[in-house]
Subunit: 97 residues, 2 copies
DNA sequence: ACAATAAGTCAGAAAAACATGACTACCTGA
DNA sequence: TCAGGTAGTCATGTTTTTCTGACTTATTGT
């Protein structure tokens, strides 16, 4: 046992904690994202960290992972319902402070 | 230079990042808080971390620090205006997921 | 005067997060 | 068949965060 989470927002804050998750989430707002293109567009990042971040974002249910059966046959991550539900919260965060 | 913050919510997420800040913030919602009582009520915490968290929360302008010139003469931290402005955002976070 | 409480600081150790480079496995175009 | 892209994993090393215990300064209760 690790939790007994007395703070309800804590888990949700953790969803986007970490060095790259906020940026990844942000890019995902504009449409489905892919491992290798994230790696290229997020400079300073690295395979391992992006892989872990994507895995965790998926585990937390913010992103949906799915294999695209097309030409190059690749994997796409896109905002889940839960992920989209975070958008207004983040918008609110932006307009304050 | 370290920033070039391309993600607008990122800085604000960082305000409450760290192992103890969410809990401290939460306790502060119920009224002014003090170093030593936090130490007692947040189990698993330690002096150093609480001290650092309080300092940072104050630097970020979420908490106001002030010396109370009363009987035991102590220091109190209470939610600042900016701190209070975060409340609705956190409430929104709670009701989703 | 003495012990306790309050609010810390500091150095060092331990743990967690992050980065690097090598490697896999599969598919595709030339 | 061979090079290159895509999507990773793995072991290892570095960096950042967090924890521990010793120490400090000022105030208070007895």
């Amino acid at each position: 046992m690790e939790s007994e989470n007395s703070c309800p927002a804590e888990g949700l804050l953790k969803m986007l904690s970490g060095k790259w998750k906020p940026q990844i989430f942000r890019i995902a707002l504009d449409g489905p994202i892919r491992f290798s293109s994230l790696l290229r567009q997020i400079e300073g990042s690295n395979k391992q960290s992006i892989a872990v971040a994507l895995r965790e974002l998926e585990e937390q249910g913010l992103l949906d992972k799915n294999v695209v059966q097309l030409k190059p046959l690749h994997i796409e991550y896109s905002l889940s319902e839960k992920g989209r539900s975070l958008i207004p919260v983040l918008r609110q965060l932006e307009n304050l402070s």
